[in-house]
């Protein structure tokens, strides 16, 4: 056993020598039919991204000190918006979507005007900043069952989940980001951070659709206080929570319309959300 172990150690050491910066830029990304190339992505990164994300991809670009929230540190390989479980790397498509959409209420713009090829190249280059892209097993996106119909039963069950899972501890009983734990939250780099405030009606960090919302709490926003609830919520139930969360927003959604209609006659039946709601 031991001779083989030594041989393996020698070979992997050689392998590390060979995988210098040149080999790192041989990184590729695959999004749909488009293949991105790290070498081309490096030029694009220097043009578009370096001011905030830094030459070393560590989130310490020249402008980083003036920005809140801080730009993503690619060397840590921890990403908020993924379709993969917590602790796993995002898929190429996850990164592509983040670059395309940008992040509302941050300084990350939507890079949609860049051609899909350019965006894919940038994604390929981003993957060269951390060795984890080479060493980690590829992650599988979570399975999302088809969305059931929106009805009051679903919204009410979602409301129960919101209470039981104690989302209100951070997001507040009405989703205004003012829960008891909201004010002390820090992200994984110890920067202060606030929970999403459903009342603003602004886009979520990771998309706009119900599916995107499903993914947010079923994969967690890694690097932030928002955990994954995948171990605690059955996939079918998760849709109920999605429907309830939509009623907290000030947007015109079918869920909100249905909820307002129901509330007009049944509001008195609801127990409050919060510490008192726990004593049911």
């Amino acid at each position: 056993m031991r001779p083989h172990a030594r041989l393996l150690a020698l070979l992997s050491g050689l392998g590390l020598l060979l995988s210098g910066p040149g080999a790192a830029r041989a990184q590729e990304s695959h999004i749909g039919g488009v293949t991105g190339h790290g070498a081309r992505g490096q030029q694009l990164y220097r043009r578009y991204c370096v001011g905030c994300h830094g030459k070393a991809g560590d989130g310490l670009g020249e402008n980083a000190m003036w920005i809140d929230p801080k730009p993503r540190d690619f060397t840590a390989a921890v990403f908020k918006c993924r379709s993969t479980p917590t602790g796993a790397l995002p898929t190429d498509e996850d990164l592509f979507n983040s670059v395309t959409r940008g992040f509302v209420t941050t300084n990350m713009p939507p890079w949609r005007p860049l051609t899909p090829q350019n965006r894919a190249d940038v994604v390929a280059y981003i993957k060269t900043f951390s060795a984890r892209w080479k060493t980690a097993r590829p992650a599988t996106p979570i399975t999302i069952p088809p969305e059931p119909a929106v009805n009051i039963a679903s919204i009410l069950h979602g409301r129960e989940l919101f209470q039981r899972l104690e989302c209100w501890k951070c997001h507040g009983p009405t989703g205004h980001g003012d829960g008891p734990s909201a004010h002390d939250l820090t992200d994984s780099k110890e920067n202060p951070i606030r929970p999403y405030n459903f009342e603003t009606g602004s886009r979520f960090m990771c998309g706009t659709t119900n599916q995107d919302l499903y993914r947010i709490f079923m994969t967690g926003l890694d690097g932030s206080p928002m955990p994954s609830f995948a171990d605690q919520v059955r996939p079918a139930e998760a849709w109920d929570l999605v429907h309830f969360l939509r009623t907290l927003q000030t947007l015109d959604t079918p869920e909100a319309a249905l909820w307002r209609q129901w509330l007009a006659t049944h509001a008195g039946e609801l127990k409050p959300i919060g510490p008192e709601g726990g004593q049911q």
């Binding site: 030029q43 578009y48 001011g51 920005i67 941050t106 713009p109 939507p110 005007p113």
Partner: protein, 477 residues
């Protein structure tokens, strides 16, 4: 004795030039609208054109370090090489200078942020023009001017007043102290929450796909396009496609600005305030479509444009002097063409073809003057900090206004080569070290740059060569 007089005075003595020519050369500046005055007495016009020739022309381009400061993006995010816009920058501009991440409204900014940026270009340049008639050489000689010089200063104040309400204000200060207002507008963006409806009112640059305000040429002969400024011999028109106009523009774009259109209604008279022209209006449209093909620095874009203009040919007079704003008997002119922006890796190709024709009454003759231009501009953007560029443009008269003029009079060929080096890439300000060589050959007329003596050559078929050599330090903050 004549030699000891100032250049301007010498011209005054030679003041018997056709008024129309003076008016046209006075109105056309190389590439820019540097505070043109409304009424141009003959001599002042020619003096000004000479002064302009002696100064380097600066296309007063919009490149906004203030935006870089506001959004914490490096210049290279919005500009391929500033001042030329990238696809991302075009989309930002189309959206009313809003990034769309809910951080645009002024209320998000620190109240120490002030939306102002400035640009100017100290330089050394050399101008040399052949076949120029001077007092000492009525047969024509080569006139050369060279020295250190200044450009004017652009003050670029653009931003948002409120979410989806954009403003722009661009006062200018010429190197000779003349002030002007190049742009002043307010724009209502995303009407009905749709990017397809935006309304801009005021003085602004026309929605040219190939923008003269944001292009990368600065020399007297290279800093403007014949396609946008040429007017034939004897013309009484004063229109320049590259000049900012006053009016209202309805524009729209797809969410990534790959499809864009604009339709404008403009007050006649080439952006001169005070409504000096007639009661007529000009109209313009542009339409372009981009395709995400290839792996170049941007999408492949194709566009068409058209302009229908009117100029009054009769005015009410008082005591023999025309009363501004009372023009009538409008005569029309058209400009239309097609252009593209193509990318092969880091090589950008910009072809443009256009056709122009003016009404007989505007042409100073008995026929409708018409001419065609074609140009190809190439930029090789090696890195965001190094660009090498070249342009070849040709203009051919297809019909002269005055049938007595030779067919080739007014034809022009223009070539320009340049390099821009940006020693640092930053998000607070920028500096470009700019080298340029431009050469034009015009048949029988002064070059459009106004270089030389400002007097037409001896014969109408003399080929006048005008060369510019420029070394400039173009900075903005």
């Amino acid at each position: 004795m004549l030699k000891s007089l100032g250049r301007g005075t010498r011209l005054l003595l030679h003041g018997c030039l056709p008024a129309a020519l003076i008016l046209s050369t006075g109105a056309m500046g190389p590439g820019g609208t540097r505070g043109r005055s409304t009424t141009t007495p003959e001599s002042a016009g020619s003096a000004r054109s000479l002064v302009r020739a002696y100064e380097a022309s600066v296309s007063h381009n919009k490149r906004i370090p203030a935006f870089a400061r506001k959004y914490n993006l490096a210049c290279s995010a919005c500009h391929t090489v500033w001042p030329e816009l990238s696809a991302f920058g075009q989309s930002f501009k189309d959206n009313g200078y809003q990034l769309g991440n809910d951080r645009d409204s002024p209320i998000w900014q620190s109240n120490t942020y002030w939306p102002i940026a400035m640009r100017t270009t100290p330089q050394w340049h050399l101008e040399s023009t052949t076949h120029q008639i001077t007092d000492a050489s009525p047969g024509g000689r080569t006139v050369t001017q060279a020295g250190f010089d200044l450009s004017g200063v652009d003050f670029l104040l653009l931003g948002t007043l409120y979410k989806n309400i954009t403003f722009g204000l661009v006062p200018t200060l010429d190197a000779d102290g003349t002030t002007g207002l190049e742009a002043a507008f307010v724009r209502f963006d995303n009407l009905g929450h749709s990017p397809w409806a935006n309304v801009k009112v005021g003085k602004f640059e026309l929605d040219n796909l190939l923008s003269e305000k944001r292009f990368t040429w600065l020399s007297a002969n290279g800093g403007f396009l014949y396609a946008y400024h040429y007017l034939p011999v004897g013309s009484t028109n004063n229109f320049g496609f590259g000049d900012n106009q006053i009016g209202v523009e309805l524009s729209g774009h797809s969410i990534n600005s790959y499809t864009r259109y604009s339709v404008s209604l403009l007050t006649t008279d080439d952006g001169e305030p005070g409504v000096p022209g007639g009661k007529s209006m000009d109209a313009m449209f542009t339409l372009s479509r981009a395709f995400a093909m290839g792996s170049g620095l941007g999408p492949q874009r194709f566009g068409v444009f058209g302009y229908l203009g009117h100029r009054p040919t009769a005015f009410e007079t008082s005591g023999g002097n025309p009363i501004p704003g009372t023009g009538s008997a409008n005569k029309s002119f058209v400009r239309f063409g097609a252009t593209a922006q193509l990318w092969l890796g880091n090589l950008e190709l910009i072809p443009l073809v256009s056709h122009a024709s003016d009404d007989v009454a505007l042409g100073g003759g008995t026929q409708k003057p018409a001419w065609n231009t074609a140009l190809l501009e190439t930029h090789y953007i090696a890195t965001p900090q190094l660009m090498i560029q070249g342009r070849y443009e040709l203009l051919r008269m297809s019909k002269q206004g005055d049938p007595g003029i030779p067919k080739t009079t007014g034809n022009a060929d223009a070539i320009a080569l340049g390099v821009r080096v940006y020693p640092f890439l930053f998000s607070r300000d920028g500096l470009a070290i700019h080298g340029e060589f431009a050469m034009t050959r015009t048949i029988g007329t002064v070059p459009l740059s106004g270089d030389g003596s400002g007097v037409d050559p001896v014969t109408q078929t003399t080929a006048v060569w005008s060369r510019s050599l420029l070394l400039a330090f173009d900075f903005a903050f």
